[in-house]
């Protein structure tokens, strides 16, 4: 079992958990957290290189490193793992954000040990989710990733934290309920009449036994189930409150990685397994996601709390992810995955910076702040860079992702899809409006509050966190073809063949 | 066709069961209720005798009437001031109880009457189970013998003794 590289993505966090449990003081905790997440980052980068090597050597299977260990044979539940380019990209993203999140919560208070325990448990779920190809284990890890969120927000959060934690958890659990129904439905239709049922994604895809009628029922279930986590309109309202109350690292992980679970799941389960229904029902969800792209952006324009602004911008950007996935062609889907990467990194950067600013000024209300550029130039410049990434400046990640999505979506010959593409395009202008509004109010202009003049700039761990993220954002923005190819290669042509598109 | 004496016996037994049951649950003084319960239990014992189960009737009198009711009386005397402890029933509760009782009566009665033909079985001939038979049934492990439940009951009683001591002990 331990000969498979993927299993270490779960094993290392578990070892970290054990190590954390033994820690006595904050120094040891930091050491364990940083060493562990560095190990995970190294592992994911190694996986990336090795994966590309295997692909270059001509491996054509849809998933590599596949393995399966029986777990509960009566119900055909296995611990099945395997990755393709998308999962690899997601693993790299998750490990980077975990690493920077550890740095960002360097001085977490109170109960640092418990905080990191829950945080690592959460990331265990995340990593487990991305390596699983068995629907049941996938769902299990999904839940493992969701539950710690409640405590992390409820205990270490700020503001109206109990309400937010409860709301977030309940809404996501509501999504899970749909999801579970959908997954069980898929399981019972996973094989043709009389065949052996399975939870394995690849097997189900190969069997292609879910008939159209059932797909019409199961597709919305799974899509909405995952869509709730992907902040799909109108199930996005947990996001502003949840993010506003969450501590920095949790916001980072949640917006950066957990929301990606939603998009990834929508693609991996809903669309991959039920392409016909996806094709027939896409228009409903296209309307919803297309609306949420513009709607989130408009909402962000009038918010005054930094985290709310960012949460609504996440609604807009994640809406674009689901929007592109539903276009059902390679280019748009590549764009969707790139947008997931890009949004993950830049939102993490945003939340890290907001946390750092909040830690100093003790307010997140942009009306109470101003002229921070003069006081904390490093953080301010980083914020501007994050903003530029968000509004799609070439050379940073947002641009390539959005352009890939727009070009891919416009490829769709149907007038309806095109009109919605143009509607989604409008978001780039609105995004510019709210980003510049924040930058102008928060960072530029005269200093608003005299007390802020005494504040200090970033510490070394904060610099480490932000610089790592900025480099990642710029890497995607400057060398998009590398990532595009990593992702693109793995879109199995057969799902598009079913729909009759390229 | 039963003898007249038997019928009169039956009537007395049935009547006292019904009357004393009703009195048990309606009397407002708790000590009286216990007394009426005693009469009900005696009537039941009489019923067992009439159905030719002498041993059972004896056990009923000894354990129930002699043991349990005495326990009740002790408990009542310990927990309340006799004669003084009349309780008023809440009318809402009484209504609820009445509905429940009547509903039970109706449902069970309907079930009973709908199987009227079976319920009309007349008394077959039966020899009294002798003490020897009962003792063998109780002490054997074969078919129709009850050593295991007997032992289980004895263990249960032991547990009850210990439990009762523990619970009632002064701290």
């Amino acid at each position: 079992m331990l000969s498979n590289i993927l299993i270490y993505f779960v094993v290392i966090p578990l070892i970290m958990l054990a190590g954390l449990a033994l820690c006595r003081n904050i120094k040891q905790i930091r050491t364990v957290a940083v060493i562990g997440s560095l190990a995970l980052t190294a592992l994911s980068v190694y996986l990336l290189v090795d994966y590309l090597g295997l692909r270059a050597a001509g491996a054509t299977a849809p998933m590599l490193y596949t393995d399966s260990w029986s777990w509960f044979p009566q119900l055909h539940i296995n611990m099945a793992v395997g990755v393709d380019g998308i999962s690899v990209a997601m693993l790299v993203l998750s490990s980077i954000i975990l690493l920077t999140g550890s740095f960002a919560s360097w001085a977490i208070n109170p109960m640092p040990k418990e905080f990191f325990l829950w945080l690592i448990l959460l990331s265990t779920g995340v990593f487990g989710f991305f390596i699983s190809i068995d629907l049941f284990t996938m769902f299990m890890f999904y839940e493992v990733a969701l539950i710690p969120m409640y405590l992390l927000i409820g205990v270490w959060g700020s503001g109206n934290k109990n309400y937010s934690a409860m709301k977030l958890t309940l809404m996501l659990m509501g999504g899970s309920a749909f999801l579970m129904l959908g997954l069980i439905g898929i399981y019972y239709h996973s094989a043709p009449e009389g065949g052996e049922l399975t939870w394995n994604l690849l097997q189900i895809r190969e069997n292609a036994a879910i008939d159209r009628g059932w797909q019409y029922f199961l597709f919305p279930m799974t899509f909405v189930g995952f869509g709730v986590l992907g902040a799909m309109f109108p199930f996005h309202t947990w996001s502003p409150d949840g993010h506003a109350s969450a501590p920095t690292a949790v916001s980072m992980l949640h917006a950066g990685v957990l929301m990606k679970l939603g998009g990834y799941g929508c693609f991996r389960v809903a669309i991959y397994l039920m392409p016909e229904a996806a094709h027939d029902l896409a228009w409903i969800f296209l309307i919803l996601t297309g609306v949420s792209v513009v709607y989130g952006a408009f909402s962000a324009c009038v918010q005054t709390d930094l985290k709310y602004i960012n949460a609504y911008s996440s609604v807009s950007h994640c809406g674009l992810v689901l929007f592109a996935i539903l276009m059902l062609n390679t280019t748009a889907m590549t764009g969707a995955i790139m947008q997931m990467l890009s949004h993950g990194l830049m939102t993490a950067l945003f939340f890290a910076l907001i946390g750092m600013i909040y830690g100093r000024t003790h307010t997140r209300d942009i009306r109470m702040m101003g002229g921070l550029m003069k006081i904390m130039p490093f953080l301010a410049v980083c914020y501007v860079i994050a903003g530029m990434a968000s509004l799609g400046l070439p050379g940073l990640s947002g641009f390539v992702a959005e352009m890939t999505i727009f070009v891919g979506s416009f490829e769709h010959t149907d007038m309806f899809h095109r009109v919605f593409t143009i509607v989604a395009c409008c978001s780039i202008v609105i995004t510019a409006v709210y980003i510049l509004r924040v930058v102008g109010k928060l960072l530029l202009g005269p200093v608003q509050d005299e007390h802020h003049l005494a504040l200090t700039d970033a510490t070394w761990w904060e610099r480490t966190a932000t610089v790592t993220l900025i480099i990642s954002v710029a890497a995607i923005g400057c060398f998009p073809n590398f990532f595009a190819n990593l992702i693109k290669f793995t879109f199995s042509p057969e799902i598009f063949a079913v729909i009759g598109m390229n | 066709m039963e003898s007249v004496g038997s019928i009169i016996m039956y009537l007395i037994i049935a009547l006292s069961i019904i009357v004393f049951s009703v009195l048990t649950v309606t009397s407002r003084k708790i000590l009286r209720a216990a007394t009426y319960l005693l009469f009900t239990l005696f009537a039941t014992a009489a019923l067992y005798f009439k159905l030719d189960y002498e041993f059972l009737g004896a056990v009923q009198i000894a354990v129930y009437a002699g043991g349990i009711v005495v326990l009740f009386v002790f408990a009542i005397l310990l927990t309340s001031h006799p004669g003084h402890s009349s309780e008023r029933l809440v009318s809402k509760k009484r209504a609820l109880g009445f509905v429940a009782g009547v509903a039970t009566l109706l449902v069970a009665g309907y079930a009973l009457l709908s199987r009227c033909c079976m319920a009309m079985t007349s008394l077959p001939e039966m020899s009294n189970p002798t003490m020897k038979q009962i003792g063998e049934a109780m002490m054997g492990t074969g078919e129709g013998q009850y050593l295991l439940p007997f032992e289980a009951i004895s263990v249960l009683l032991l547990a009850c003794i210990i439990g009762g001591v523990v619970v009632a002990r002064k701290r």
């Binding site: - | 039956y10 009703v22 649950v25 239990l41 310990l78 029933l89 001939e125 009683l157």
Partner: protein, 103 residues
């Protein structure tokens, strides 16, 4: 007149209903326990009657009643021990007033 099975079952049923009524209406725990005994007794009668009328050669019903009586005795003993204990601590045996353990 033949005394058939139903002649025994009906008083037993009435006894049972009285038990139900008493259990629901009484506030005194001892009175509730008394009602419980009535119900048990009614069931015992049924066992005996069915045994006697339908399976006269066997003794299952009788033995069941026998054991039920034993268990009833044990149960009563324990219950009364609890009741006395409760009385000792709260000076009351009214079931409505015993809400201390709830909170």
């Amino acid at each position: 007149m033949d005394i058939t099975m139903i002649y025994y079952l009906v008083p037993a049923l009435i006894m049972f209903c009285c038990g139900v009524y008493g259990f629901i209406t009484r506030r005194n725990m001892i009175a509730m326990l008394i009602s419980l005994e009535l119900m048990l007794n009614a069931v015992d009668i049924n066992f005996v009657v069915f045994n006697r009328y339908l399976f006269p050669g066997q003794m299952e019903g009788m033995f069941f009643t026998l054991f039920a009586i034993a268990i009833a005795a044990a149960e009563t003993a324990i219950s009364i021990a609890i009741i006395i204990n409760v009385y000792r601590s709260v000076k009351n045996v009214k079931v409505d007033d015993l809400t201390e353990m709830k909170n």
